[in-house]
Amino acid sequence: MTRRDLRSVLMGVRARQLGTAVLGALVVDVMTGPSGSLTAPTRGLTGSLLSIRAVIFVALGVALWAFLTFRDRLATYTSRWTAAIAPSRLVADRRYRRAGYAALLAAAIAVPPYLSQYWQEVAVDQIGVYVLLALGLNVVVGFAGLLDLGYIAFYAIGAYSCAYWTGSLPIRPPHVFNPFVTIIFAVIAAMIAGVVLGFPTLRLRGDYLAIVTLGFGEIITIYANNLQSVTGGAQGPPKPIPHFSINLLGIHYQWKISNLPYYYLLLAFVVLILVLFHNLENSRVGRAWTAIREDEVAAAASGINTFRYKLLAFAIGASTSGFAGVLFASKIQVITPLSFVLQQSILVLVLVIFGGMGSLAGAVVGAAVIQWLPNALKTYVDKADLFMYLGAVLVVMMIYRPQGIIPSRRRSRELAMAEAGLVEADALTTASKEV
């Protein structure tokens, strides 16, 4: 390539980047601009595109573009800076990682009492419970490479099991239990549901599995909604589900309306599950899942019962979900089928992938960030537009960091190889390749 060619190519790239910057600026302008309405559908667009705002935004975009393109020194400085704080670099080093986790745990224990009640509430209802959900789905999607879009159904099964065994549903159980005890029933029920769903469907290929699980999730909600005499219908169980309590060996403790006790209970469970899953990941089972994800045929030829391991992943994911359901039900005390719709399944999937598929730390951080983000954003933007911003964040994130915030080591290797064109990025949808 001659020098001139190179230059024209570079100019081309620059021109494209300028275009992207201007278009990006206009999109941000429209996003943050005034809204239209039923009677004035163009008010939003004209208000943001045909006003001084547009000029400001385009100017900002162009300025940024110019800044980055023509100040090479600065550009390298910024990229070095971003590289330095990029979590993957830090996380890659084991020592940093250990220290980081210890610091995180310490912060998770020490900080919440100083937060406002509101943030404590968010930390329990919206972050804590979803961290558990994300950890469970991470086993299914991240470890075993199965796309499950009906994951929230098991959460529903857990929550309704808890409601049933605590006597909150219209149908009475043979014996009423404390929510703690119902964890066992709920986990078993969710696991059975996982196996029953998985047994006929896990032989299907990735995308087909996705639609079948999606359908399963939908029908569980429909059953919950329609069977009024069993579940209470759309209103949910008529009686509030009781809070947790301990009444054992002379110790009496009742979890009540305040959030901190629930927070610590959840934290303990999350840490427990993290330890269990970490052991699992680095065991025979975890390696078998990786093998299945990478090459199902070779895995089978190495003696791995692929079907059984997939079913196992499904069952473990389902029971974690069911477990989270009990915690949720007992904390919120009120459940309705609306808590278990498809969008929730998608949300949990987003948490897992945003955090970094296959990575336990990623699932935790992803859940924390995505669940925290709307609550933090809503002070600044119109609440009705929250999901628009969330959507934009997801797209930008996937374009620039498809591996997620903290990818697992195995996953990031797979992705690096895929980027170099060596292997498929994942075995989610590739059928058993020709032998």
Binding site: V30, S35, G36, S37, L38, T39, P41, T42, L45, V141, L147, P200, T201, R203, L204, R205, G206, D207, Y208, I211, V212, G215, F216, E218, I219, I222, Y223, N225, N226, L342, L349, V350, I353, F354, M357, D382, A384, D385, L386, F387, M388, L390, G391, A392, V393, L394, V395, M397, M398, I399, P402, Q403, E414, L415, A418, E419, A425, D426, L428, T429
Partner: protein
């Protein structure tokens, strides 16, 4: 009552639903054919088509009360407006949410998430700009809707259903011809069969993928308009359920397979209506799901099997 004396009364409107599903399902199936990806944001392409068609037709009709031939023109204008909007949105969608990821060989789930993100972004943007309540579409024809156009097997067919079905049939036939007989279609089939080989043979993959998205967008957008026509309303959340149904229909017929999508759509439309007559509207999705599972257990690749290249 179930399946017996009113069979055709349920069957006939089911066909019209089915054609709508088929139009949308094609968008899923075409993209799946060339990329092996579920385009989760296709439901928003459909929604955009609804808005595009609505604005243009409302502006075009203004205060008139169209009838006769002018009705045909208005419907045509609406379809074209919807289709063009859908096509443009699908094109942008591919550029923003797919191409950059493709360049990086991102994992499949990253595509899924970026498509979900795009879907959230688009429908909420529409809600922000156009209001969050349903908008009403002006009717392009002035007839008494209660008067059936004609009857089949004793079941009355109303004008809306007839318009939807007829437009859909024309578009489906055009698409089938396009994929079978043109160079564009050849390219799509080649990429669907084996993208690497197609690239070696000089097919511009990027362009073919872009074109595939646009074709799917045209059909989806037109369906969005027809949908708005049938219900006389368009709203920012209208994409979700029909999108889901159409996706199910595509899988039912064999995702990636054009004729499969058509068959799956029609089948789902009819099955839903019959299920409604037997079990009530709130159980329709349950029945549809059971049928899907049964079909997949017997034919794991859908009714007509998978490949876009082979059977279309």
């Amino acid at each position: 009552m179930c399946l017996t004396n009113h069979f055709w009364d349920y069957f006939v409107p089911g066909i019209a639903n089915g054609f709508l599903y088929a139009l949308i399902a094609l968008g899923y199936t075409l993209v799946y054919g060339v990329l092996q990806l579920i385009n989760f944001a296709h439901s928003e392409v459909f929604m955009s088509g609804g808005f595009g068609g609505l604005f243009v037709i409302n502006w075009a009709i203004a205060d008139r009360h169209p009838h006769g031939l002018s009705s045909v023109w208005f419907v045509l204008i609406g379809i074209i407006a919807g289709a063009v909007t859908g096509g443009v949105v699908a094109f942008v969608l591919e550029r923003v949410a797919y191409r950059p990821l493709r360049r990086r060989h991102a994992p499949k789930l990253a595509f899924l998430i970026s498509a979900i993100g795009m879907s959230y972004f688009l429908y909420n943007l529409a809600g922000k700009e156009f209001g969050r309540d349903a908008r009403t579409m002006k009717p392009p024809f002035t007839v008494t809707p209660s008067k059936p156009l004609f009857t089949i097997f004793g079941a009355s067919v109303n004008l809306y259903d007839a318009v939807i079905a007829l437009s859909a049939i024309i578009m489906l036939v055009l698409l089938d011809r396009l994929v079978q007989n043109t160079r564009l279609g050849q390219g799509i089939r080649a990429v669907a069969q084996d993208a690497d080989t197609a690239a070696l043979m000089g097919v511009n993959i990027d362009r073919v993928i872009s074109q595939t998205f646009v074709i799917g967008g045209l059909l989806g957008g037109a369906a969005g308009f027809l949908f708005g026509l049938g219900t006389a309303g368009v709203s920012y959340t209208m994409g979700f359920t029909p999108g889901l149904k159409a996706f199910t229909a595509a899988v039912l017929g064999g995702i990636g397979n054009i004729r499969g999508a058509m068959l799956g759509g029609l089948l789902l439309g009819v099955v839903e209506n019959l299920a409604s007559s037997c079990f009530g509207a709130s159980w329709v999705d349950v029945v549809a799901f059971y049928i899907l599972v049964l079909v997949l257990l017997v034919r794991p690749m859908g009714l007509l099997g998978e490949r876009l290249g082979r059977s279309a």
